[in-house]
Amino acid sequence: MTALSGSRLTPRESSRRIALFVQPTLRMLNNNNELTATTTPLVKIRGLTFHRGGRLIFDNVDIDIPCGAITGIMGPSGCGKTTLLRLIGGQLKPAAGTVEFDGMVINRLRRPQLFEVRKRMGMLFQSGALLTDMNLFDNIAFPLREHTALPESMIHDLVIMKLEAVGLRGARYLMPSELSGGMARRAALARAIALDPEMIMYDEPFTGQDPISMGMLIRLIKRTNDALGLTSIMVSHDVAETASIADYIYVLSDGKVVGQGTPDEIRDSDSEWVRQFMDAKPDGPVPFHYPAPPYDDELLTERDGS
């Protein structure tokens, strides 16, 4: 399902899309719909190079995000995982290389076209990033009200359905400040699927969640992806959870892809970097000690340097 060009849908087109909206969401509510992942990549990254603050974040990186599947991007903290999502979404521009989405080069698009493409992507921020001056209902209705000309009654029904899919229908009039972390993320997920995008990016969805919320989120992500035929990119450092639902995993470290493959392949990988990450070893290619002068010298050095 692709979005139309032009920033507002006509009522007729909106009605046609309603039918498309309703079906998959109902399917999602009813569970269990397998969609096979196709092999053509939706997002193609070639030769990506990016600096920030004097540091090289990405060094000539190539990544393919297959269509219709869940791809996990893993790696130690600070390796630029969130930056990657921003590069795909066009919020940052690479120093070199191309980021392609459905054949369009994101980093060369002009602002109006970029905004059009973004309607086909959804993004789930780490904190949910709900708009704090409106309640939950209005938050989810926000993209619908901004981009479509649907009447309020239809918007009401759509929002109710999205909320029901994430299990928050009863909380619709709460303000974001009154939600718990897990609820906020589920609400943000409902908002991300409001316009029925083709791709959703999840920025560290499992970080800081209790086991129950974690379980709920995993189930939601999997169901959303399968029922709506989405492509999902998950950035995380939760090895077990990511491996449990991802169809394909990339492991990044030090600005390069140090491992890629299906979860099983990664688990059995013999690359040093991947092993340290997967086995949670505190020391290895990613050192435990931040670079510093020798320990003995520091202890024995007097104030005046003798």
Binding site: Q91, F115, R118, M121, A129, T132, F142, E146, H147, R191
Partner: protein
């Protein structure tokens, strides 16, 4: 010794370059804001909401301050004029001081402190909690949805607030002068009416308040948008808004007065 001096020069250089960099960023920001204005006017409901929060909620402080300033003008003016036997001109003194200078300037300073800092904090917080980023990813331009309406609300509210400040101030002066100190009622108004020009004084005062409104709102909104997204960054940005707005108001006041009233 030389090393310290060289360090100082490098510091100055960095500070100067940083200053110019910010200045350039602020102007590019203003440009993108102005480009969005036609789209913002179409979303006038958002502007109305902002006028409520920025204009109406500042009303109390403006009106109360205006009243007190007018009353003090009445008192001090009377004390000075009575020595020259010119206390009948109290109306002229109060009206001209308010309409030409105190109305636009003081209300702009109060506005910067109350509404300007609130705008900076609000936008800065939205940036820190990634709400602006989320909006961008939802293909909603934060300039048109968040920043533009606040900017419009600022420069629409400012002249209205300044006019109310001056009007209430004149009433305050009347209260003190005629009510308490015994200046002649008719002389108060008639001398005032013959001395205050519609085009030269009142219109110029309105132009001043519009210019101040644009300057203060621009600074407030830019500082919010440009903050370092931490709590310390936001508090520093809020302080900068108030300080820079005040300096801008007083500086622009001098320039405008020199242009208008020589």
């Amino acid at each position: 010794m030389i090393g310290g001096f060289v360090e100082f020069l490098r510091f100055l250089g960095r500070f100067g370059l940083g200053f110019f960099e910010r200045l350039g960023r602020a102007h590019l920001f203003l440009l993108s804001l102005l480009v969005c204005l036609p789209a913002v006017v179409r979303r006038w409901r958002l502007v109305v909401l902002q006028i409520y929060s920025v204009g109406f909620l500042s009303l109390i402080i403006i009106v109360v301050s205006g009243l007190f300033v007018g009353m003090v003008l009445g008192l001090q003016g009377y004390n000075t004029l009575v020595d020259f036997g010119a206390e009948e001109s109290l109306g002229v003194l109060v009206a001209l001081s308010l309409v030409r200078e105190l109305g636009p300037v003081v209300s702009a300073l109060l506005f910067a402190g109350r509404a300007g800092s609130a705008l900076t904090a609000e936008i800065g917080l939205m940036k820190a909690t990634e709400q602006l980023s989320a909006m961008e990813m939802m293909a909603v331009d934060p300039f048109k949805r968040v920043i533009g309406p606040r900017f419009m609300a600022g420069f629409i509210s400012m002249p209205l607030l300044a006019a109310m400040f001056s009007a209430v101030g004149v009433m305050g002066g009347y209260f003190v002068g005629v009510g308490l100190l015994g200046v002649d009622d008719g002389a108060f108004w008639s001398q005032m009416q013959s001395a205050v020009e519609l085009r030269e004084d009142i219109l110029n005062g309105v132009i001043k308040s519009i210019v101040f409104g644009i300057a203060v709102t621009w600074i407030a909104v830019f500082e919010g948008y440009d903050t370092v997204p931490t709590s310390e960054g936001i508090s520093r940005a809020t302080t900068r808004t108030v300080v820079n707005s005040s300096l801008a108001i007083l500086g622009l006041d001098f320039i405008l007065t020199a242009l208008m009233f020589n």
